[in-house]
């Protein structure tokens, strides 16, 4: 092999190594992001289920003493019933946001009843649900950030050259599309 052929082959090989590295790194990056998004969603799901399990305890603890606040209690109960872990992510987001809003309203109402507010079990439940609300809010932020990264990555070069080959599609954000998608809850007792 002549020195010129050697130099040409070496240069070609080096370019191929760089291109190959970029393609492999990009593929790995997209797969990692997809896994991160799935994990972030699973972590939200865990917190939603925990809140779903805690809400009946709170309603049970305050309902006897809040005879004139049945509408608020009913709304929390029915929104809890509307939760389904198998629903599409935007629908779950709408239910979750409505539930958070109803729970905040319930806490505001509880403030007006010093007898209830001072009960140890109510305080504990309130603290636990507030903790879960914080967790849901933080994990939702992390999930949306990860989905944003994933969706951006698969639309950018060089990942967009692989998108069709591997069937990557944009993922939905955890947010209610608009106010009309908020679950319609009947408040009749």
């Amino acid at each position: 092999m002549s020195p010129q052929s050697f130099a040409a082959l070496f240069s070609l090989l080096l370019v191929l190594v760089v291109v190959g590295f970029l393609l492999v790194a990009t593929y790995n990056s997209v797969v990692t992001l997809a896994q991160q998004a799935s994990k972030a969603w699973a972590n939200i799901d865990v917190a939603l289920k925990q809140r779903h399990d805690e809400l009946p305890n709170l309603v049970e603890a305050v309902k006897g003493l809040m005879a004139f606040e049945q509408a608020t209690l009913m709304r929390v109960t029915q929104l809890r019933a509307a939760y389904s872990s198998s629903a599409p992510i935007p629908a779950q987001a709408a239910t979750s946001e409505a539930t958070s809003s109803a729970v905040r309203q319930l806490f505001a109402v509880v403030e007006r009843y010093p007898d209830i507010k001072s009960q140890a079990n109510v305080l504990d439940l309130q603290r636990e649900i507030q903790r879960l609300e914080e967790i849901i809010a933080d994990r939702r932020e992390l999930y949306n950030d990860t989905v944003f990264r994933f969706n951006t990555r698969i639309g950018q070069f060089p990942a967009n050259t692989l998108t069709r080959l591997f069937g990557w599609t944009a993922r939905p954000f955890f947010s209610a599309p608009d106010a009309q998608d908020t679950p319609d809850v009947q408040l009749a007792l």
């Binding site: 760089v18 590295f21 933080d138 992390l142």
Partner: protein, 367 residues
């Protein structure tokens, strides 16, 4: 082959080797940047178990390190001293150490166990001896212990300020003590270059690691201290040759006690040494017992020395080692990307050098 051709050939081979080295280093930077960029930042207060990225300020845990070349309080340092000997440069000291620490963001703090972590910390001190052999400004070789207390109170700071330590001028081996002093001083009079990278208390760091409950750590003691390295032999897990030798000797003679209470008695009670024991010590019946620390003080000591079993901590995952990068995520990612760009320039250098090599070999140039 003429002298010019020989020079071109050797220069081209060096160019190819250097370019390939830069390229491989660039690949490492790209992977590191990608790993950081592919993970969103979690808030510490609401961390989920599993691999997470956090960012916050470094706080010391029980202990802090004192860096070797500039004597700064830190949780990680890597110090290197290279010495010119004729036309070659030799590394005469290469020491890397880390201890466990906490990271705090606006929501809370988490304990980090960094054993086995990859550290991404650019040098903060990079100087060489003057032409007349004088030491560079900023060089303040450590003259005391490598390990200091984690949190410093007012009295510690006053004591530090008033303590006069002997300065190190390279002629006296005693300030550094042990074999490391010999490494620096016993190697002739060539010009030295000093380089130190470190993560100091208060620095912002970005970490990718595995969040897990404290009681699931396989070995918290070992997880806390990173392995050290030094010319002349690896350091033990305790990170200090003298300590390791003492421990080995104690084990061999059977004098190493099973637990702190057996070994130190009352001295193992947190706060005993400062007259604020958190529980009553065993004393001679005629001795005046010290006042047991109040609830708040005892809690502070407990928080300092113990971690609840279910508390989440950050440690390594065997498949995905922890990465500790200095700076905010964007800065750490940019550093890795810059390294990749330099790697691409290295590839161009290697290709150019290969072309020059081919031309020199075929006699097109330098004949």
């Amino acid at each position: 082959m003429s002298d010019v051709a020989s020079l071109l050939v050797s220069g081209s081979i060096a160019g190819i080797a250097g370019g390939l080295w830069l390229l491989i280093r660039g690949f490492g930077g790209y992977r590191r940047a990608g790993r950081l960029d592919d993970t969103g930042t979690s808030r510490i207060a609401t961390l989920a178990v599993g691999e997470v990225r956090i960012t916050g300020r470094v706080e010391p845990a029980e202990l802090a390190l004192i860096s070797l070349l500039q004597s700064r309080r830190c949780v990680y340092f890597r110090s290197q001293v290279r010495q010119q000997q004729g036309r070659t440069t030799r590394t005469v000291l290469d020491e890397e150490r880390a201890v466990g620490f906490r990271v705090r963001d606006d929501s809370g703090a988490i304990r980090v166990f960094p054993r086995g972590a990859n550290w991404d910390a650019p040098p903060v001190f990079k100087e060489g001896d003057g032409f007349s052999g004088d030491r560079p400004p900023g060089l303040a070789l450590r003259s005391g212990s490598a390990i200091g207390p984690g949190a410093l109170d007012r009295d510690d700071l006053i004591e530090q300020l008033l303590t006069v330590r002997p300065s190190f001028d390279g002629s006296d081996l005693s300030p550094l003590g042990g074999s490391r002093a010999g490494i620096i001083t016993a190697t002739g009079s060539g010009r030295r270059e000093y380089e130190e990278a470190r993560i100091e208390v208060g620095d912002t760091v970005t970490i990718i690691g595995t969040a897990l409950p404290f009681d699931q750590l396989a070995d918290p003691d070992e997880a806390d201290l990173a392995e050290g390295s030094a010319v002349g032999g690896p350091l033990s897990a305790m990170g200090d040759l003298e300590i390791a030798a003492d421990l080995d000797a104690a084990r061999a003679t059977g004098t190493l006690a099973a637990n702190p209470e057996d070994a130190w008695g009352n001295a193992s009670i947190p706060g005993f040494g400062i007259d604020e024991p958190v529980r009553a010590p065993h004393l001679d019946p005629e001795a005046t017992p010290p006042v047991v620390a109040g609830h708040e003080t005892a809690e502070r000591f407990t928080r300092t020395f113990e971690i609840a079993p279910g508390e989440l901590v950050l440690a390594i995952n065997p498949g995905r080692p922890m990465l500790v990068s200095v700076g905010a995520p964007s800065a750490a990612v940019a550093r890795g990307q810059d390294q990749f760009l330099v790697g691409l320039l290295g590839a161009i250098l290697a290709i150019g050098s290969a072309v020059v090599l081919a031309m020199a070999m075929s006699g097109t140039i330098g004949a």
